[in-house]
């Protein structure tokens, strides 16, 4: 069972983030877009934290987190966006969907590891 689900269409980002978190002793699963993220989350009840990109094919990240809270009615999982976007409107939309935090890429593992540990425990 994974603790953290990393959802990003870029394999470069998936590899970078998941390798960093695994090296830090965390269990990580990955998904390639919002649709894949929803199905991986449904299949693994151990996931406590979803780290998700915004701009992805098939289903974008904000739609995915809205579905997690809405259709899946999953209020427990922690949601963090990891994206190049920093538009206030997008952040507001994320906040309204229950997103807990926002990271503007590039990923800086050491800066967020403690927070990730807490949110994934």
């Amino acid at each position: 069972m994974a603790q953290i689900l990393v959802v990003d269409d870029s394999s470069t980002v998936r590899d970078e983030v998941s390798a960093f978190l695994r090296n830090a002793g965390l269990n990580v699963a990955t998904a390639v877009d919002g649709k894949d993220g929803l199905s991986k989350l449904q299949a693994d009840p151990g996931i406590k934290l979803v780290v998700c990109d915004v701009n992805m094919p098939n289903m974008d990240g904000l739609t995915m987190v809205e579905k997690i809270r809405g259709e899946l009615n999953n209020k427990a999982v922690n949601l963090i966006m990891l994206t190049t976007e920093s538009s206030p409107n997008m952040k507001e939309r994320g906040k309204a969907a229950g997103v807990k935090g926002w990271i503007v890429k590039p990923f800086n593992g050491p800066a967020v590891l403690d927070a990730f540990r807490k949110l994934a425990s």
């Binding site: 994206t83 920093s86 935090g101 503007v104 967020v112």
Partner: protein, 318 residues
């Protein structure tokens, strides 16, 4: 960084006296002249990318026929490059035979370079780029390359204007640029093999670095640059419904050629990634093509609330 973009031009002119004048004119007008040995024109055209135009003398060939033939060959090979003809008597193309006239976009005489300046403004420096945009693109791109290609060093040339449509390297990415003041594409171009070698050294633990790794990396760098561009210059205005106007893009692999369906020149930035361990390098070209709309008078940098700014990479908790 030099705030004004430059442009590389081929100088096909054998008049020693006039060449000194051209050199000084180029220095004053943001041009980088490239002198070509007689007979090497076509090979230079084949091997040089990122040209803005050609200065051509009516005495370039040994005979008038040869001069016309060389001009016709160049025009046929690169019709997108403006060829500006230096005449001895009058700055006109009107007296040339029709077949010869169509190879040139304009004429000038050495005694009045103001005509040449005007032509450059019309064909090469016809789009105005705000300094804040040039500076910002350079910073955003450099930062994206640095974040994804550590520990390679990144350096950049002065941005320049190009009119040719030649693709550099084997690999390029495209992403649409959509804003209220510009619409077009950003294209990143690079060479596959040197990039793979650099990546393999960068990620020494991973033995099998292949082209897909480079594809993914270039894609993420593209994403980071577009994200930075959007955050700095577009903001929430970008949420406006996109305009539907589009034009087909043409890519011809045989000729390493890409057209965005416009005669507009392109804004180009050349970055060099270098491995400090052995000095090996790879070039990355970022080209900005505003083929669908360009309204620099509406350009603005997004004013952010400094107190509310969060560093990239840091977690902003809600």
């Amino acid at each position: 960084m030099n705030a004004n973009p430059v442009s590389k031009i081929l100088v096909l002119d054998n008049d020693a006296e006039h060449l000194a004048g051209i050199k000084s004119f180029c220095e004053q007008n943001n041009l980088v002249p490239m002198k070509v040995r007689r007979g090497a024109e076509m090979s230079v055209l084949r091997t040089n990318i990122d040209l803005g135009g050609i200065l051509y003398s009516e005495d370039y060939g040994a005979t008038a026929e040869q001069t016309a033939t060389i001009a016709a060959e160049i025009h046929a090979a690169r019709p997108e490059l403006p060829i500006i003809l230096r005449r001895n008597e009058q700055a006109t193309l009107a007296d040339l035979p029709e077949a010869s006239r169509r190879n040139f976009c304009a004429a000038y005489v050495a005694s009045d370079m103001s005509e040449l300046r005007k032509v450059l403004g019309e064909y090469i420096f016809c789009l105005l780029y705000p300094n804040a945009l040039l500076r910002g693109i350079a910073e955003i791109t450099e930062s994206a390359l640095q974040s994804q290609c550590r520990p390679l060093s990144v350096s950049m040339d002065t941005p320049y204007i190009v009119r040719d449509r030649v693709i550099f390297g084997e690999l390029f990415s495209l992403i649409p640029l959509e804003s209220p003041w510009c619409r077009g594409y950003m294209m990143l171009q690079t060479e596959e093999s040197p990039f793979i070698r650099l990546l393999a050294r960068q990620r020494s633990a991973a033995a099998d670095i292949g082209f897909r790794n480079v594809n993914d990396l270039l894609s993420e760098i593209t994403n980071l640059i577009w994200g930075g561009f959007k955050n700095r210059y577009v903001g929430d205005d970008g949420a406006r419904a996109p305009k539907q106007v589009q034009v087909p893009l043409i890519v011809n692999h045989e000729h390493k050629y890409i057209s965005f369906g416009t005669e507009n020149p392109q804004l180009c930035f050349r970055f060099v990634l270098a491995d400090p361990a052995d000095g090996s390098t790879v070039a990355v070209y970022a080209r900005f093509i505003f083929n669908l709309s360009w309204a620099p008078e509406e350009f603005r940098e997004i004013q952010q609330d400094v107190a509310g700014l969060v560093d990239s990479g840091a977690l902003e908790l809600f």
